[in-house]
């Protein structure tokens, strides 16, 4: 059921032609990496502030509030290019252990966001009583750094798994 959906997806005209294009595919890959750089820096900047390792002369809420929308847009850009790369080889990715690990890590990131939403991300003003971050902020920041680094490594790993024979490319 899921696999037949993925086969349908990868054989849609735009994804089919992107897959067999000489230069369009690596261009999308380079745009994916560029978006990752920008998004990664936004994530790291937030996490460094939560850890108290950068921007310590200003309140925590200031940086979290200012970076909220840029992070959303950065993620949207990286995810859009990432989806294009996935959609070209959806069936193959389904069997790729690194892709599966990456999806699992995204689930963990969603859990992380949900777990720290109330205590950190949606109410950062509560963290401003002192310039030094409380333990829960440090925990949120270090877990986020770890999870996103793991996503980066899993993403790089995807390209190292050889495609399987018998894919249903048209």
């Amino acid at each position: 059921m899921l696999v037949s959906l993925l086969i349908w997806l990868e054989n849609l005209a735009p994804f089919s032609s992107l897959r067999s294009s000489g230069y369009a595919y690596p261009i999308v890959l380079a745009l994916h990496v560029s978006a990752i750089s920008l998004f990664g820096a936004l994530i790291v900047a937030t996490d460094l502030r939560l850890l108290g390792w950068a921007f310590v002369d200003g309140p925590i809420s200031d940086l979290i509030t200012q970076l909220r929308w840029p992070k959303r847009l950065g993620f949207l850009a990286a995810a859009t290019f990432g989806f294009l790369l996935f959609a070209c080889k959806a069936e193959e990715y389904y069997y790729n252990p690194f892709f599966r690990a990456k999806i699992l890590l995204f689930l963990l990131i969603a859990i992380h966001a949900g777990a720290f939403r109330r205590s950190i991300y949606s109410a950062p003003a509560m963290l401003d009583h002192s310039l030094k971050p409380p333990v829960r902020a440090k925990l949120a920041g270090s877990l986020s750094l770890f999870l996103w680094l793991a996503v980066l490594c899993a993403g790089r790993g995807i390209g190292y798994i050889m495609g399987r024979p018998g894919m249903h490319y048209k």
């Binding site: 261009i27 920008l38 990664g40 200003g58």
Partner: protein
């Protein structure tokens, strides 16, 4: 006697190094771009460009050092392939230009302050240089003889 490069004998050395390489340049390029965007008036408007640059300075340099050092090790696994690869050569030219520009003209623009137009021009040049390095890196595998 020929000595085998230990990086070439391990199947996981190259991908692991690549992860360091990507993490390093993502940090450096991303942080540099956040300052560039601020010069263009986009994002982090409560801080001045020099405040952001100062907060990022050592992290940017750290990312750059990790990216260059891991890059040298990646290069060492197949030096003649890289040396004959025009995408790699363009990448290296852009890298030298980007780093030089970053620590001279752009540094002046960020820390001493320049007119809005000059700042915007510096920011665009900086973003263009770093992006072309990413494209150059990706296209090494595309223009590589033997690979399509």
């Amino acid at each position: 006697m020929l000595i085998e490069n230990p990086l070439s004998t391990s199947p996981i050395a190259f991908p692991v190094l690549e992860c360091f390489h990507i993490a390093g340049f993502a940090l450096a390029i991303g942080m540099s771009t956040l300052v560039d965007l601020r010069l263009l008036g986009i994002g982090l408007n409560k801080q001045s460009p020099s405040q952001i640059a100062r907060a990022f300075e050592w992290w940017t340099l750290g990312g750059l050092v990790v990216a260059i050092f891991s890059g040298l090790l990646l290069f060492s696994t197949d030096p003649d392939m890289y040396f004959l690869n025009w995408s790699f050569l363009i990448k290296m030219v852009c890298l030298v230009l980007a780093v030089t520009f970053h620590y001279t003209i752009r540094r002046r623009a960020v820390f001493r302050g320049v007119s809005r137009q000059a700042g915007g021009f510096v920011a665009c040049a900086s973003i263009a240089l770093w992006i072309s390095i990413i494209f150059g890196g990706i296209f090494i595998a595309v223009v590589r003889p033997g690979l399509s």
